[in-house]
C-alpha cells in the first residue's frame, strides 16, 4: 500500500470518527445565538452509544425492507466517503465518473429510506416519504449540474480532480465568482438534502411538518443509531465538498520522489487536515447561523429554495462561460 493511499484512508477514518461532531457544532452555534448553553458537543456520540446498547423493536406489519434500510443508508454514506477526497490527497477510490456514483449512492440511500417509511403503512411516514421524494427529485438534477460544471472547469471526470485537491489554489485563480456561486448553490442543496432549516426542522416532532424525522419515527435501537450516523455522515460529505471548493490554500508537495511521506510532508499534512477540518466545521457553524436567523419555510415554499439553488448553479455556468 502506497503512502498516498494510507493518507487517503487516514482522511476517511478521520471523517468517520469526526462526523458526529458536526451536528454538535451546528447545535452549539444555534444555542449560542439563542443565548443558551446548549447540548454537549459530543451529544450525538452519547446518543449513538446509548442506542447501540438497546435492542431494536420492529412494528408487526413491516417486512425485510424496514430492517434493511438503516444498513443500506449507512453503507451508502460510507461508500460515498471512499470517492470523496479529503484534502490534500485524492480519494481512496478514484476513477472516471465517480461523481455519478456519489449522486447514485445518495439516491440509493433515499430509495431505501422511502421504502422503509412506506413499509410501515403509517400515513405520516408515507407523507414524509412523499415530500422527500418530491424535493429530492428537484434537488438531484441541480446537484448533478453542479458536479458537471466542476467537471467542465477542472477538465476532470473524478471528484478528486474536480475539487482543488490536485491543482491547489492555482485552479481557482480568476474563478472566484464561479466557485462562490457553486458553493452557494451546494450550500442550499446541503440544507435540503440534510433536512435542515429552512427546508425542514431536525428538532421538530410535529408529524405534519416533518420530512426526514417523520420517516425514521418507527426505527429504534441500533437501527436508529445507523440512521442518525448516516445522516451525520451525509452532512459531513456535503460540508467537505463545499470546503474542498473554496479552500484557497497553497498546495505543498507532501510526498518525496520515492512516494513516502517525509517530515515536511507530515507537517504539511497536519496543516492541511487542520485547515480542512476548520473549513468543515465552519460550514457546520454556518448551517447553525442560518438555522438561528431563519424560520422554517412553509412546505409549498421549499421548491423556491431549490429554484434559488438552480439559479445559482446557472449563474456559475454563466460565469464559467464568461471566463472561457
Amino acid at each position: 500500500m502506497t503512502s498516498q493511499m494510507i493518507v487517503a484512508l487516514g482522511g476517511m477514518l478521520l471523517s468517520l470518527l469526526l462526523a458526529p461532531l458536526l451536528p454538535g457544532c451546528t447545535n452549539r452555534v444555534k444555542a449560542m445565538m439563542g443565548g443558551r448553553k446548549g447540548r454537549p458537543l459530543l451529544q450525538l456520540y452519547f446518543d449513538l452509544c446509548r442506542l447501540m446498547g438497546k435492542s431494536p423493536v420492529y412494528p408487526g406489519v413491516t417486512t425485510y425492507f424496514f430492517k434493511a434500510a438503516p444498513t443500506a443508508c449507512l453503507t451508502s454514506a460510507v461508500a460515498a466517503l471512499t470517492v470523496l477526497p479529503f484534502w490534500p490527497v485524492a480519494a481512496p477510490a478514484n476513477f472516471s465518473g465517480d461523481f455519478i456514483l456519489l449522486a447514485g449512492l445518495f439516491a440509493m440511500s433515499r430509495f431505501f429510506l422511502i421504502l422503509a417509511a412506506l413499509d410501515t403503512g403509517s400515513a405520516f411516514e408515507g407523507m414524509g416519504a412523499s415530500r422527500d421524494a418530491l424535493f429530492s427529485a428537484l434537488a438531484e438534477p441541480i446537484f448533478l449540474f453542479c458536479l458537471l460544471l466542476l467537471c467542465r472547469q477542472a477538465h476532470s471526470l473524478t471528484l478528486s480532480g474536480m475539487t482543488t485537491v490536485a491543482a491547489g489554489p492555482a485552479a481557482i485563480q480568476g474563478y472566484w465568482m464561479f466557485y462562490l456561486m457553486l458553493a452557494f448553490a451546494l450550500f442550499l442543496l446541503l440544507l435540503q438534502e440534510n433536512s435542515r432549516i429552512p427546508v425542514d426542522d431536525p428538532n421538530t416532532h410535529l408529524e405534519l411538518t416533518m420530512i426526514h424525522e417523520v420517516m425514521i419515527l418507527d426505527h429504534s435501537g441500533p437501527d436508529l443509531a445507523f440512521l442518525e450516523y448516516a445522516a451525520a455522515l451525509k452532512l459531513w460529505i456535503f460540508s467537505l465538498l463545499i470546503a474542498g471548493l473554496v479552500l484557497p490554500l497553497p498546495s505543498v508537495p507532501l510526498f518525496d520522489d520515492g512516494g513516502s511521506l517525509g517530515p515536511h510532508g507530515l507537517a504539511g499534512l497536519a496543516v492541511h487536515w487542520g485547515t480542512t477540518l476548520l473549513a468543515i466545521f465552519g460550514v457546520g457553524a454556518l448551517v447553525g447561523l442560518v438555522e438561528s436567523l431563519m424560520a422554517r419555510l412553509r412546505m409549498e415554499r421549499v421548491p423556491q429554495v431549490l429554484a434559488m439553488a438552480g439559479a445559482f448553479a446557472g449563474l456559475a455556468a454563466l460565469t464559467l462561460w464568461r471566463q472561457a
Binding site: G174, W176, M177, Q304, A311, L315, L318
Partner: protein, 220 residues
C-alpha cells in the same frame, strides 16, 4: 488600469457577493431580510473606489471610500429600518410575478449582460468590462423590484438596488474629479430615501396600507 492578481480575486469575490445579494433580494419577501441585503450591498460597494484607484490611492479618495461606506452601508439601511418600524407592514412584500419567476428573470438578465459585454468590446478599460455584467444585472434587478413588488417599501429597495448598479457601473471610471459627482448623487439618493420614508409613513397613516394595489382602487 490593471487589476492586481490578489485584488482581482477579491474583486471577483465581492462582485459574486453583489450578484448573490441581488438574487436573494429578488427571491426574498421579508422586508427585514431585504434591508440587511441592501446594507450588505452598500458595504461591498463602499470598497469599489479602492479597486478603481488601483495604486493611485489618495487621502481624498480614502475619505470618499469612508463616506460611501457609511452612507451606503449604514445611513440608507438605517433610514429604511426606521421607515419599516413605523409602517408595521402586515403582509410581506409579495411580487406580482412570483419569486421564482423573478429569480429566473434575474438569471436571464445576467446572461444578457454577459452577452452585451462581449458585444460592446470595451477593451480600453478592463476593469469596466470586468464589472459591467454585475452592474447591469444589478440595475435590472432594481428595475424588476420596482415594477414587480406590491408594497411601496419594497419598491424603495428596488430604487436603491438600481442606484447601486449605476454606481457600480461608474466605479471603474471614478477618478478624483468624478468622485465628487458620485458624492452629489449619493447625497441626492440619501435625501430621496429620507423623503420617500416620510411620504410612505404619511400614506400609511392616511390609507392604512402601503400596498400599491390599493391606490388603483381609490375613489372620491
Amino acid at each position: 488600469m490593471t487589476v492586481l492578481p490578489v485584488a482581482g480575486n477579491v474583486l471577483e469575490a465581492l462582485l459574486g457577493l453583489v450578484i448573490i445579494s441581488d438574487f436573494c433580494l429578488l427571491g426574498a419577501e421579508r422586508s427585514r431580510l431585504c434591508i440587511r441585503l441592501v446594507a450588505l450591498q452598500g458595504v461591498i460597494l463602499g470598497f469599489m473606489p479602492v479597486f478603481a484607484a488601483g495604486d493611485g490611492m489618495t487621502p481624498w479618495l480614502a475619505v470618499a471610500v469612508a463616506v460611501f461606506f457609511v452612507v451606503k452601508g449604514g445611513m440608507l439601511p438605517l433610514l429604511l429600518w426606521h421607515t419599516y418600524k413605523k409602517l408595521h407592514p402586515r403582509a410581506p412584500g409579495a411580487s406580482y410575478l412570483g419569486n421564482t419567476a423573478s429569480v429566473l428573470l434575474g438569471l436571464a438578465a445576467f446572461a444578457f449582460s454577459l452577452w452585451l459585454n462581449s458585444r460592446l468590446g470595451i477593451a480600453a478599460n478592463p476593469l469596466f468590462s470586468h464589472i459591467f455584467p454585475t452592474a447591469f444585472a444589478t440595475i435590472f434587478s432594481g428595475l424588476l423590484l420596482i415594477t414587480s413588488r406590491r408594497m411601496a417599501l419594497a419598491q424603495i429597495f428596488g430604487y436603491l438596488v438600481m442606484e447601486n448598479g449605476i454606481y457600480l457601473l461608474g466605479a471603474p471610471m471614478a477618478q478624483e474629479s468624478a468622485v465628487w459627482l458620485e458624492f452629489s448623487i449619493l447625497m441626492d439618493i440619501l435625501v430621496a430615501a429620507f423623503v420617500m420614508g416620510i411620504a410612505l409613513t404619511h400614506i400609511n397613516r392616511a390609507f392604512d396600507s402601503t400596498d400599491v394595489e390599493c391606490f388603483a382602487s381609490l375613489r372620491d
